[in-house]
């Protein structure tokens, strides 16, 4: 019943408060007891807030998680220029309309979709729930999926605790479980 409401589109297409190019730096400040949100492009952030280009706006945990996930899945090329051979969907069209065109778009735009999904789904990147019987499910969530979810949670924890040795081991376990 929910539409891709304006909130979803705003979320994907937030413009810089200053110059109206794509905002990539999102700040929340408490000023005089009031919450102030700022959305800036990299250039304006550098000028106004003294935030250096590159990584400062991304929490270190997120960066590391993305890094580890990217390697556990095998890095793929960015898909910004790709066009779906089935439905003709291109990434800019999706960003404008908020809706995908067919089931194949998810795999095609996987790389670009991942950060959006993480933001929309509380950091989650993988399904953990019912699997259709004809896709190998039992009509109820599978144990393997539950195991994977547990491993991913532990991986997150290991990264947060800066236990990289354990993180590497967990990453390999996830790789094995996924294959």
């Amino acid at each position: 019943m929910e539409r891709p409401g304006s909130a979803w589109l705003n979320f994907m297409n937030r413009k810089c408060d200053n110059c109206k190019s794509q905002a990539t730096v999102h700040l929340t400040e408490i000023k005089a007891g009031k919450k102030v949100e700022k959305h800036l492009c990299q250039q304006c952030a550098e000028q106004q807030e003294g935030i250096p280009a590159g990584t400062a706006h991304t929490p270190i945990n997120e960066l590391l998680t993305n890094f580890v996930l990217a390697h556990s899945q095998g890095a793929k090329e960015l898909t910004t220029n790709a066009v779906c051979e089935h439905c003709g969907m291109a990434w800019p069209d999706f960003k404008q309309g908020g809706l995908l065109g067919c089931e194949h778009d998810y795999a095609l735009f996987e790389k670009d979709l991942t950060p959006l999904l993480q933001r929309a789904h509380d950091g989650a990147t993988h399904h953990l729930g019912k699997v259709p019987v004809r896709r190998g499910g039992s009509g109820v969530p599978m144990k393997r999926q539950a195991d994977l979810a547990r491993l991913r949670k532990e991986l997150q924890k290991a990264i947060e605790g800066e236990d990289y040795e354990r993180a590497a081991k967990l990453r390999d376990q996830i790789k094995t479980a996924e294959s």
Partner: protein
């Protein structure tokens, strides 16, 4: 079973019974599904849209999801019928207003509805009165399994069930409860609910879902995260954490009103009852506002001569399309407001 049969009775979910129904009006679980091998609707031609609609209609009617199933072709349905279905929470507003081949299947009890060609090919919904999320999930899961035996749903091992909008991907589940929170509104503490909901990553919406106002102190609370959690986990969070917490807030506000502001509480309740029993023109928004205070009074035992079922029925029947169906013709303006006032007076004075 015909559409007109619906106007003569309140749907199962609005009977005002069921666990914790003094605060939890209804529990809803919906699943978003798309059929593999077909484009999502935004990329469909008219012809493809029609093909999908026929395929799904046949699958639903062949799956015997309930003893009697009504299928309404919404492309041909008159506006008042589409509005009626919105007022009964059987279809969404966008589904009523959009164009092209689309429909809805409704079970006889009205607890199950399946929208065809809304934002996704299928939107399955189970709606039950009171706090019954687990029961609703069991029922919808069974229907999903039945449909899955003839329809191949788009699914990806990593992303789960694939939906047109990535905000629904994964389980495709939206769990929501409709809550009546008049005391929190009167004590000015409704913000507590918004804050708690935000902390738990839940959305709070109005009476008819996204983009609608919280009329009559009704709030729809629903999950926003559909990926990375199992269906059972999402439901048990609601049942174990979300609902009890908000109910406790509302109970606390009701106790405060009763103990510290008895005269003010009774004034609100009986002022509402007085207007409802005497007014000659009633607008729909004012009706919701007054019925909300009356419902609070009945549930708190301040009003003893009116049954809660009468109040629940009035919420449903005084909506524009329902009134027009009852009267049997299109009415608007003062004629409609007069008809509404008369209907309410008749029901409340006879009680």
């Amino acid at each position: 079973m015909k559409l007109t049969d619906l106007t003569t009775r309140a749907g199962e979910w609005l009977r005002g019974i069921g666990p914790m129904s003094e605060i939890v009006i209804s529990s809803r679980v919906r699943l978003a599904r798309n059929v593999s091998g077909y484009h999502f609707l935004s990329k469909c031609t008219r012809h493809q849209r029609t093909t999908i609609e026929h395929k799904i209609r046949d699958a639903i009617l062949g799956a015997s999801i309930s003893p009697k199933t009504l299928y309404v072709d919404l492309q041909d349905a008159p506006e008042v019928d589409r509005q009626l279905l919105v007022e009964r929470h059987l279809i969404s507003k966008p589904h009523a207003q959009s164009e092209g081949a689309r429909g809805v299947a409704i079970s006889e009890s009205e607890s199950v509805s399946i929208m065809v060609n809304e934002e996704d090919h299928l939107r399955l919904q189970v709606l039950r009165s009171g706090s019954q999320l687990e029961e609703a999930w069991e029922e919808i899961n069974e229907i999903d399994n039945k449909l899955e035996s003839t329809l191949d749903f788009a699914f990806h091992p990593r992303f789960g069930y694939l939906t047109a909008c990535p905000t629904n991907v994964g389980t495709g589940i939206r769990v929501s409860v409709m809550l009546h929170l008049p005391a929190l509104k009167l004590t000015g503490e409704i913000e507590k609910v918004f804050r708690a909901a935000k902390d738990m990553r839940l959305a709070v919406r109005g009476l008819y879902g996204e983009g609608t106002e919280a009329l009559g102190d009704f709030y729809q609370v629903s999950n926003q995260t559909t990926l990375g959690k199992s269906e059972e986990e999402i439901i048990s969070d609601f049942k174990g954490v979300v609902i009890p917490k908000i109910i406790e807030y509302e109970h606390h506000a009701r106790r405060t009103l009763l103990n510290d502001r008895t005269a003010a509480l009774d004034d609100k309740v009986f002022r509402a009852l007085g207007i409802l029993r005497c007014a000659r023109l009633m607008a729909s928004e004012e009706t919701l506002y007054l019925l909300s205070h009356l419902r609070l009074g009945v549930n708190m035992g301040r009003v003893k001569d009116i049954d809660i079922r009468t109040v629940n029925e009035l919420f449903l029947m005084t909506q524009p399309a329902h009134l027009q169906k009852l009267i049997g013709k299109k009415i608007d303006g003062d004629v409609r407001r007069a008809a509404r006032a008369e209907f309410i007076r008749h029901r409340l004075n006879a009680a």
